[in-house]
């Protein structure tokens, strides 16, 4: 098991390196010149060259990537050009290892930007995750137990409706009615636990969390329903009944254990994807999370932030994959090796 984990982590690191390379290449393959973009419309050729030098975009791609890699390992100083650093020492910014880069747009290192954004996206993801797992699995099980009835059809149908509606619509709808018109919730505005306590943190997360959860829930309602029904038709459930076990024990010990195991994989990967930020929901509710940062950095051609985000989100997914696989070995005895 240990050797397996080490091997998986190693492969994950190689994947991250490859991802950073691809991002660099793609960035410079784009027809838009980031220096031109930063310099503005009325920009002479000399000014543009100056800006390019200042941003560090004047070197070949592979050298820029090498500097980036060294920065991750050792940290680096900005701007890259030594003559520029000498001429304006008061503008030199140090980026400590692991340095993912320095964003000239945000005037901050990428890591420090992440530090303020991650709590927002994580809070949102966790709130959404709790709502959709509880709601999705709970309703899915209810649908399975009432298979064929009006409740079953209603639940599956309603979840499909929420799945079909785009997030920005559901988000705006909830914001407009539940928060602004009827005032059931405050107009969401991220408040950290340190600033406002657990209650304020939670209340402000309900609407954006629900917006995301409603979308994910549809899939989980249908899937947990299908898994529970499949599990209920297994021979070992007939054995459990033939033993004389009471109904709730059959349901919770025998049916659910088998039905919900496959959901662990999905839930783990979905959560990992969501930790990297919910682009639309964060925009609708004006949450400064990673998703909003991603959109902003792409629109202004902020390479260091883009690369940093790609690596961050990539590592979330890779770590989640490894965690899910290890978790699976604990849940399903047949997967255990040795």
């Amino acid at each position: 098991m240990f050797a397996y984990t080490v091997r998986r982590v190693f492969v994950g690191i190689i994947m991250l390196i490859a991802m950073s390379m691809v991002t660099f290449v793609l960035f410079f393959a784009s027809p838009i010149d980031p220096a031109q973009f930063a310099c503005g419309k009325n920009c002479s050729l000399e000014q543009r060259a100056q800006v390019r030098k200042g941003l560090g975009y004047d070197k070949p791609v592979w050298e820029q990537w090498k500097n980036f890699a060294v920065g991750v390992a050792k940290g680096r100083d900005y701007p890259e050009d030594k003559s520029l650093r000498k001429s304006a020492p008061n503008l030199v910014a140090h980026c400590a290892a692991p340095c993912l880069g320095y964003s000239n747009v945000n005037i901050a290192t990428v890591t420090s930007e992440f530090k303020t954004r991650i709590p927002v996206s994580f809070s949102l993801a966790i709130m959404a995750f709790i709502l959709w797992i509880v709601g999705g699995v709970g309703l899915g099980v209810i649908a399975a137990l009432t298979k064929g009835s009006i409740i079953d059809r209603g639940l599956v149908g309603i979840s499909l409706i929420f799945f079909a509606f785009p997030t920005f619509f559901v988000g705006l709808f909830l914001l407009k009615f539940l928060a602004i018109k009827w005032g059931f919730f405050p107009v969401p505005n991220y408040i950290s636990i340190a600033d406002g306590g657990v209650w304020n943190w939670m209340v402000n997360l309900v609407l954006p969390g629900l917006t995301l959860a409603l979308f994910y829930m549809a899939g989980y309602v249908r899937m947990s329903r299908a898994f529970v029904l499949e599990s209920m038709s297994e021979d070992y459930l007939r054995t459990a009944r033939a033993k004389g076990l009471p109904g709730r024990k059959i349901l919770f010990k025998h049916t659910m254990r088998a039905a919900l195991t496959p959901l662990v994989t999905m839930a783990g990967l979905d959560l990992a994807g969501l930790l990297g930020g919910a682009i639309i929901t964060e925009r609708v509710f004006n949450y400064n999370g990673l998703g909003k940062l991603a959109v902003d950095s792409i629109t202004v051609y902020d390479l260091p932030t883009i690369v940093g985000l790609v690596l961050l989100l990539g590592s979330f997914v890779i770590v989640a994959n490894i965690v899910v696989d290890i978790l699976y070995a604990f849940i399903d005895p047949r997967v255990r090796v040795g």
Partner: protein
Amino acid sequence: MSFLSVRDLVVHFKTVDGVVKATEGLSYELERGKTLGIVGESGSGKSVSSSAILGLHRGTNALVSGEILLDGVDLLKINDESIRRKRGREVAMIFQDPLSAMHPYYTVGNQIAEAYRVHNDVSKKQARARTIEMLERVGIPQPDRRIDDYPHQFSGGMRQRAMIAMALINDPGLVIADEPTTALDVTVQAQILDLLQDLQREFNSAIIIITHDLGVVAEMADDVLVMYAGRAVEYGPTKEILVHPEMPYTWGLLSSVPDVVGDTDAKLIPIRGNPPSLLTPPSGCPFHPRCDHRDKVPGDLCRTTLPDLTPARAGGDHTKRCHIANPDEVYATEVLPEIAPLFEEQA
């Protein structure tokens, strides 16, 4: 009164295509310490009728009627909670494929102990001790270690032994074994059957063994019930039926048993055609479309009239459902010479 008495058991399933008549008016008796073999093709209603004893059709689309008297109590009349308390304690079931019949996520010991604890107010420790005792009794080596194994770590034969331990841990009066050896190697089959017989002697339980293997019936059963299309077509003491079968379907079953020890030139004659649809069973005798002997019955009787379950010519407890007037003659002259006489009259 018998220990188990099934009378006019009817099991129908309501489906979108119509009513599936899985069991039609089945009756039989069974005493403690005795074994009844229920034989028939797939879909003849063997398993369905036996599951009805445990009330496993409750809460499904099944319509069950008739009487199932166990120790004088009608199992079809008592409420769900009462039948649940009898499951596993008074009536236990052993299933065909022990790998799929055991929960893959729980240890063998956990699943057996669970069967004990649900009916007995004992501590986990006591249940575990009892489980080890049962595993040892069914012949699992090192039971104190194997108890913590998962089903997939057991071999097929060991899994079936564990299933038997699970079924017998509460010392039930009636054990229903639903094709207990079908999924096993031939060598293991014999061991499992021996084990069942030993345990039956020890616990004095009644056993219903469901099978389509007449060899199993010959070895295990005191009585045989041959089922076709949800009905009993021949019923009586095993020796009687295997030596003097009077129903063409039973002849067919006997003809399709391969004989590997004796006369290997003997023909293996399958029953032609397929088992009938239980949704729209044939008119008259349900076997008539596949019967080679229906022209021996005058008129259209086989096609129009369902024969009653009448005493066989040999008399006694042997009953059969057939219009043929001289079945023992037909069997002796037409059927027996063609097949390997696997079950000869004991001289």
